[in-house]
C-alpha cells in the first residue's frame, strides 16, 4: 500500500515531468523522468519482494488464562515464526485498549532467518473492569524510501476479563476496618419478638410462654411477681442495586471511568451490607445488558457480581421505566432499591414515580464532572463543565426529591460514603421486613 507521502512524491514527480515537457528543456525532462522512475521502481520492487514476505509470518499471542484483575500485571507471550525461504525484517505491535498499560516487548522490530521462531513477552496492566480484547498483532514492513508500507494482521485476538482490583474491595472485606467504621452500636431496628438476643423484661401476662419466664427475677419486687424476658427480633433488609450499564455510564478516561468507579463502591457497600446479615442483589441494566442477581443473605451475589462485571462493558441505552417494570415482578415490596445512574437519558420522572409506587427506592445520580479528563490544558473545559454540570445535577436531584425519593449526587470521592449512609438511614427508619 502506497503511503500518503508516496502518493505526494509520485504526484510531484509527474507534475515535474509534464511541466518540463511543456517547457521543452531536455535535461530537465531527463532529470524528472529518471526521478519518477527511481521512486516508482522503489515501490514496484518493494511490492514484488519484501511486501510479499510479511504475510508468511505466523504469530501466536497467548496467556495462561483470560482472567485478570484491575491493576494486577498479566504476562502475555507472542511467538513469531518466519515461514519464508528468505530472511524477513518487520515491525510489529499489539493492538490494545486504552484501558491497558503495556510494558515489555509489545512492539518492536525483528529480523528472522528462514523458519526461525522467536518468542517475546509483554505485560498488560488493566486499569478498568470489563471484557476487553487484546490483539491482533500487526506486522508491517516498509520500502527503503518509506514510500509504501505492507501491513498484515496476523494473529487471533485474545479476550481479557478484568475483575475489580483487590485493593479497591479488600478494605470493605477487612473485619477490623468495617467494624470500626460503621458497625459499632448501630443496630437501630430493634423490636421485641422472636430472636436470640435479650432485649428487656416485662411483667408476666397470662398466655406468655413459660420458657421465657425470668426465674432469677421471681418475687424480687413484690414477693409474688413474675417477669418474662423479651427477646430482640432481628429485622432483615434486602438491598437491590439497580445499576445503569448503558453508554451514559461509560464516561471518563483511562483509569477513571464512571462504571468502574461506581462498581468498586457498590461492591464495597455490598460487603458492608452483608456483614450486617442483610441481603444484597443486583440488576445491571441497559438495552444491551440485562443481568439479574437475586438478593441473598450470603456473599454469593457479590462474588457473582464480580464475575459478571468482568465480562461486561456498558453499552446501549438505559431506561428506568423498563428496568423497574422488570424488577417489580422479581422483588418483594420490602426490598430497598438503590438506583444508580448518570441519568443521561430523557425519561418522564412522573412515570417512574408511578411505576415505583409502593416499592422502596433511593436514587444516586452519578456526576460526570468528576470523570472529565484532568490536566492544565483541560482547565477551561473543566471550569465550564463544573458550573453547567452542577446546576444540571442539582435540578435532577430536586426533581426526584420532589417526588419523595431520597436522592444523592455522587462522585468518585463520596459515592461509597453516600451509599453506606443511605443504607444506614434505611436501617434506622425500619425499612426492613
Amino acid at each position: 500500500m502506497i503511503r500518503k507521502s508516496g502518493y505526494l512524491i509520485l504526484s510531484a514527480s509527474v507534475y515535474n515531468i509534464f511541466e518540463s515537457i511543456l517547457l521543452g528543456y531536455k535535461y530537465y525532462i531527463i532529470f524528472s523522468i529518471i526521478l519518477f522512475f527511481v521512486f516508482a521502481s522503489d515501490i514496484l520492487i518493494f511490492n514484488l519482494t519484501t511486501a510479499r514476505l510479511v504475510r508468511n509470518i505466523e504469530v501466536d499471542i497467548s496467556a495462561e488464562n483470560e482472567k485478570a484483575r484491575k491493576f494486577s500485571p498479566k504476562e502475555f507471550t507472542i511467538a513469531f515464526l518466519n515461514k519464508n525461504n528468505s530472511p524477513t525484517s518487520f515491525h510489529y505491535y499489539v493492538y490494545s485498549s486504552d484501558t491497558f498499560k503495556m510494558a515489555g516487548d509489545f512492539e518492536g522490530f525483528l529480523s528472522l532467518k528462514p523458519f526461525e521462531r522467536v518468542v517475546r513477552k509483554f505485560i498488560v496492566t488493566p486499569n478498568t473492569i470489563g471484557r476487553y480484547r487484546l490483539g491482533p498483532v500487526s506486522v508491517y514492513t516498509e520500502d527503503g524510501m518509506r514510500l509504501s508500507v505492507e501491513r498484515a494482521e496476523v494473529s487471533r485476538m485474545v479476550d481479557l476479563k478484568v475483575a475489580p482490583a483487590l485493593s479497591e474491595i479488600m478494605a470493605a472485606r477487612s473485619e477490623r476496618i468495617s467494624n470500626m467504621l460503621y458497625y459499632t452500636g448501630i443496630h437501630y431496628n430493634k423490636k421485641a419478638g422472636q430472636g436470640y438476643d435479650f432485649l428487656t423484661l416485662r411483667e408476666y401476662v397470662p398466655g406468655d410462654e413459660i420458657r421465657y419466664v425470668a426465674w432469677s427475677m421471681l418475687g424480687k419486687m413484690k414477693g409474688d411477681d413474675i417477669y418474662v424476658k423479651q427477646m430482640e427480633e432481628e429485622r432483615i433488609m434486602d438491598v437491590l442495586f439497580l445499576i445503569d450499564y448503558g453508554n451514559g455510564m461509560n464516561q471518563g478516561h483511562d483509569g477513571k471511568r464512571m462504571f468502574d468507579s461506581i462498581m468498586a463502591d457498590v461492591i464495597k457497600t455490598s460487603y458492608k451490607i452483608r456483614k450486617n446479615q442483610d441481603g444484597v442483589g443486583y440488576l445491571i441494566w441497559s438495552s444491551e445488558v440485562n443481568v439479574y442477581i437475586p438478593p441473598e443473605r450470603t456473599a454469593a451475589p457479590i462474588e457473582n457480581l464480580q464475575k459478571v462485571i468482568s465480562d461486561l462493558r456498558p453499552s446501549g441505552s438505559f431506561s428506568l421505566a423498563t428496568s423497574i417494570d422488570f424488577l417489580r415482578r422479581k422483588i418483594k415490596k420490602t426490598t430497598m432499591m438503590f438506583i444508580i445512574s448518570s441519568f443521561e437519558y430523557d425519561e418522564d420522572p412522573a412515570s417512574v414515580r408511578d411505576l415505583i409506587g409502593s416499592f422502596k427506592a433511593m436514587f444516586f445520580i452519578v456526576n460526570p464532572y468528576e470523570f472529565v479528563i484532568t490536566g492544565d490544558e483541560n482547565r477551561t473545559l473543566r471550569t465550564t463543565l463544573f458550573h453547567k454540570q452542577n446546576s444540571i445535577m442539582q435540578k435532577k436531584r430536586e426533581i426526584m426529591r420532589r417526588f419523595g425519593f431520597r436522592t444523592e449526587v455522587v462522585g468518585t470521592k463520596d459515592a461509597y460514603r453516600k451509599l453506606v449512609s443511605s443504607y444506614l438511614y434505611a436501617k434506622m427508619t425500619n425499612m426492613g421486613e
Binding site: 512524491i9 507534475y15 535535461y27 521512486f39 511490492n47 520500502d143 527503503g144
Partner: protein, 277 residues
C-alpha cells in the same frame, strides 16, 4: 550540538543539494533580471522564508497572508489613484499592475519556493518546491535568452515566452499535441552547469530518500536496485519520448509510460487482494 539540531542542519544541506538546479539558475538570472522587476514587491516577499524562521510558531502562518494583504492594499491604492478616486499623490505608495509587476511575481515565486525548499522538512515538499522554483526560473531564463538573441525589449521577450507556453497548452488540449516549446527552440548558455546541478540534485534526492527511510533495516540492496532500474527505465522512456517527439506526441508517450508504471504498482500491491480490491 544536540542530535536534533545536527539532523536539521544535515537535512538543510541535503535540501540545498536538491535545490541545486534552481540555485544555479537563480544565480544566473537574478542579477540580469533584477532591474526589470518591481523592487517593492520583490523585497516584500523575497526575505519572508528567512524571516519566518525567526518568528514564533503562533504568528509564522500569518507572514505570507500579511505580505499578500500589504501588496493587495498597495495595488488598490494605485488603482484608486489612477481612476481618480483618491489623490494622485498616493501613487507613491501604490503598486502598478504592469510588466515589472508580472516579472516580480515570477521572481518572487522562484525565490520563495527556492528558500522554502531549502528549509522544508518533508521530501515531497522539497521535490514539489524544487519543481516550482526550477520551472519558474526556467521561464525567466527562456525570456532572457529571447531578449538576448532577438533584441526584443525584455518585457516583450517575457510575454513572448509566456505566450509560447500557453500556445503549447492550447494545442495540447485542442489538437492533442504541442509544437511550440520555448526551451526546445533556444539554447541555454549555462547548460553544462545545469547538467551538473541536476546530477547533484538527483544524488541529494536519493540521499534524502535514504535518510527518510527506516534506518533499522538494511536497505542498501533495495536502494541500489531502485536507482538502477529507475535509471534504465527513465533512460528508455526518454528515448521513447524523443522518438515520439517527431510526431509531436511527447505528452501521449509520457502519459502512456506513467500510466503503465502506476498500473504495474497497483497490480503488484499484495494488499490489493486481501482488501477485496
Amino acid at each position: 550540538m544536540d542530535t536534533a539540531s545536527r539532523e536539521t542542519i544535515i537535512g538543510n544541506l541535503v535540501n540545498f543539494g536538491v535545490m541545486m538546479p534552481a540555485i544555479i539558475m537563480a544565480i544566473y538570472i537574478l542579477p540580469r533580471t533584477f532591474s526589470y522587476a518591481n523592487p517593492f514587491i520583490l523585497f516584500l516577499f523575497a526575505f519572508l522564508p528567512i524571516l519566518r524562521r525567526f518568528l514564533g510558531k503562533s504568528i509564522r502562518g500569518f507572514v505570507y497572508p500579511a505580505a499578500i494583504l500589504i501588496a493587495a492594499v498597495s495595488i488598490l491604492i494605485w488603482a484608486a489613484s489612477v481612476s481618480g478616486a483618491i489623490s494622485k499623490r498616493y501613487l507613491v505608495i501604490g503598486t502598478p499592475v504592469n510588466e515589472p509587476f508580472m516579472v516580480s511575481i515570477t521572481l518572487v515565486i522562484g525565490i520563495v519556493t527556492l528558500l522554502e525548499g531549502i528549509f522544508a522538512g518533508k521530501l515531497y515538499s522539497v521535490i514539489t518546491l524544487m519543481a516550482f522554483s526550477s520551472l519558474t526560473f526556467l521561464d525567466l531564463m527562456a525570456a532572457f535568452i529571447v531578449f538576448r538573441e532577438t533584441g526584443y525589449p525584455f518585457f516583450t521577450s517575457y510575454m513572448y515566452v509566456e505566450l509560447m507556453e500557453y500556445e503549447a497548452m492550447y494545442t495540447l488540449v485542442v489538437y492533442g499535441y504541442e509544437f511550440s516549446l520555448p526551451l526546445a527552440t533556444f539554447t541555454i548558455p549555462i547548460n553544462s552547469y545545469l547538467i551538473g546541478g541536476f546530477v547533484v540534485s538527483m544524488v541529494s534526492i536519493i540521499v534524502a530518500a535514504y535518510r527518510n527511510g527506516n534506518r533499522s533495516m538494511d536497505r542498501s540492496r533495495s536502494f541500489a536496485y531502485s536507482v538502477l532500474y529507475g535509471s534504465i527505465l527513465g533512460g528508455a522512456s526518454f528515448y521513447f519520448i524523443t522518438a515520439m517527439s517527431r510526431f509531436s506526441l511527447q505528452f501521449l508517450a509520457i502519459s502512456i509510460v506513467i500510466v503503465v508504471m502506476i498500473y504495474a504498482i497497483i497490480r503488484t500491491d499484495p494488499g490489493r487482494k486481501s482488501n477485496g480490491a
